[in-house]
Amino acid sequence: MPPEVSLINDRVVIWVVAQLHLLFAAFVLGAPIFIVVSEYLGMRSGDGRYERLARETMKIVAMSYSLTALFGGAMTFVLVAKYQQLSNFLFQRFYPVFGTYAILLVVETALMYLYWYSWDALAKHKGVHIGIGVALNAVGTVVMFLMNGVGSFMLTPPPSPESASLWQMVNNATWTGLNLHRFVANIAFGGFMVALFAAFMFLTSREERDRAFYDWMGYIGNFIGVGALILLPVAGYIYTKEIFAYNATISTLLMADKLAWFFVIQGVLVGLLFLGAMYYMWLSIQRVQGGVRFHSYFRGAFWVALAGFVVWLVPQNFLPSLTAEPSGPISEVTIPERVIFLGFMPAKGLAVSAMVVITAFVYLLYRQAISTGTMVWGQIDTKAQLALTFLPGLAVFTMAFMGPIREMARGEWHIFEFMADTTQASFLTPLGFTAIMAGLNTTLFFLLMAAVFWLGFKVSHQG
């Protein structure tokens, strides 16, 4: 931290409250998609587990709504109190958007309560209940799109933001990409969080019947999480390409300058997510009768994924920025000439594609094994449940780490090349500090979720 700036400064405060707001918002947006799909599958298949899965998850979502609103309010308070120039401009220019947002938020909350409290009353009218759930998701998605309009505007505003129309400001160069990226990410996040609850309940359950259910619940959560995770790099690529097309200066900062090493760490995170998901499937297939015939394919897939992981992580250099001077010979901290291609985007793209394709391949093998063998629910290696706790921890950290990168891409601007950020705590935070902040926010999020979870599951079960 620069000496003239205290450790707890405006930047750090807005960072924590905004990040917690976004994490809870992602959960209450992602999980209901999962819940409604689960309820629908329950109705279609007659399998009561889907109904139970939907209902138990919705209990957590209902309680998380209030925390989302709490941190949203805190974020607005800090913005208005400490970033008046920016908040004044945004509230004035986006007034219709914020007005619509407030109205839809009330509608969304009403739908959420209606959906939750009408579960028993509409038990014989499942179609109506599911319809309420679909409406809840539709409104929630529109709410997210509205705020994405404001957030993406700050990074990629149209020319002359003061005279641009409201639609030009909302439908800016990266609105579509951000909408797509967050929508897919929220589904993955929702799936992995459900898997986390299931894993915890599995590990603490004593009844075989409960274990069988939570084992199945974890399987479904991971199934949804991995399905969305496979699509996520594509969505991320589209979003990043939109940023690059908007302004090449941002791309230099992101990929070649100060934030380049942030993307190496992002590679570690996303690579671990893919490998973790594959490891869960590997352990899960062990209890499928006849699953052994797929083992050699799985092992081969792990080697391909590991090779992709290595290529993804090989950096062009070990310098923190484009202008940094190495303390020793430059040849020691830059990639050797004959293998320089490993540091370029085509190699990285190929490596990521290999990981995505091989995970999809493992996913299909896993489905094949389940459909042709007999799955014994509840009899799974404990390591599989720990893998299901590893994935959401990493997913939340990845979100908490990538968010600051998107914010820092604006450099010294509140609104890129339009409104400068001249506040005292305006600086790019180094990689280590950013990771510590992401770790702090991730820990706070899980502590709060643990409290919600404890109230929702353990206390109510005891009651």
């Binding site: 931290m1 620069p2 915890f200 590990l203 603490t204 230099t252 300058d257 090493w261 760490i265 995170l269 671990l272 490998l275 490891y279 092992r299 792990f302 590991l306 290595v310 090989v314 070990f318 920025s321 484009l322 202008t323 940094a324 001077e325 010979p329 430059i330 040849s331 020691e332 901290v333 830059t334 990639i335 050797p336 000439e337 004959r338 293998v339 290696d381 404990t382 390591k383 720990l386 706790t389 590893f390 921890g393 990493l394 950290f397 450099g411 010294e412 400068a420 950020d421 001249t422 506040t423 005292q424 600086f427 790019l428 935070t429 180094p430 990689l431 280590g432 500090f433 990771a435 770790g439």
Partner: protein, 196 residues
């Protein structure tokens, strides 16, 4: 045992092979890369171990289950935070207008895509080769044109680059008189004059 042996062979290869290579071979990785590859080899070993590991029994109590979940969380998040802290770090850098000095602002301008100096000129290996290398330009600028100081020469090169073109380079540099403010010119000159 076989796993440990294989890991040892890989790590030995990572550290010993470069001893027999020269930089000119274009294949010699430096110590930071060797450390990264060692870490990746360790991770690969962990994956192989986990694929072979026997099944783990369920925890005997809820508190042990909690401890297991907490441990996974701490190792995962702590490990990534640690990795991010040993990776290359830039210093906290104020982006407010008063935060940077003239030469620092000049360096930022030099590597700014919109200004574009680095697209043709390089400093200490970073940048293009269509124009002269400026790594020691503060030293060479004073003797380029008789009777002209380093600052005068650099200013002229910036504002009216065709006045003197360093052989064997082509006269391709555009004048920057209309592209930069007087303050930016001053910052850029301050940066270039520090390149001794």
């Amino acid at each position: 045992m076989r796993l440990v042996l294989a890991f040892g062979v890989v790590v030995a290869g990572i550290w010993l092979v470069p001893l027999f290579l020269t930089v000119e071979s274009g294949l010699k990785f430096g110590p930071p890369y060797q450390a990264l590859f060692t870490l990746l080899a360790l991770f690969g070993g962990l994956v192989v171990y986990l694929l072979r590991a026997p099944a783990m029994a369920p925890p005997k109590s809820a508190s042990r289950a909690m401890a297991g979940v907490a441990l996974v969380f701490l190792v995962t998040i702590g490990g990534v935070v640690l990795l991010a802290n040993v990776a290359p770090q830039f210093a906290f850098e104020g982006t407010g207008e008063a935060a940077a000095t003239g030469p620092e602002r000049g360096r930022v301008l030099f590597f700014d895509v919109k200004v574009g100096c680095f697209l043709c000129h390089s400093v200490q290996g970073s940048g293009g080769t269509r124009g002269p290398d400026l790594t020691h330009v503060a030293t060479s600028a004073g003797s380029r044109k008789p009777g002209m100081s380093a600052e005068e020469y650099l200013r002229e090169s910036l504002m009216s680059p065709s006045s003197f073109v360093v052989p064997p380079f082509d006269n391709i540099m555009p004048p920057f008189a209309q592209r930069l403010t007087p303050e930016q010119v001053g910052d850029l000159l301050a940066y270039l004059q520090g390149l001794e």
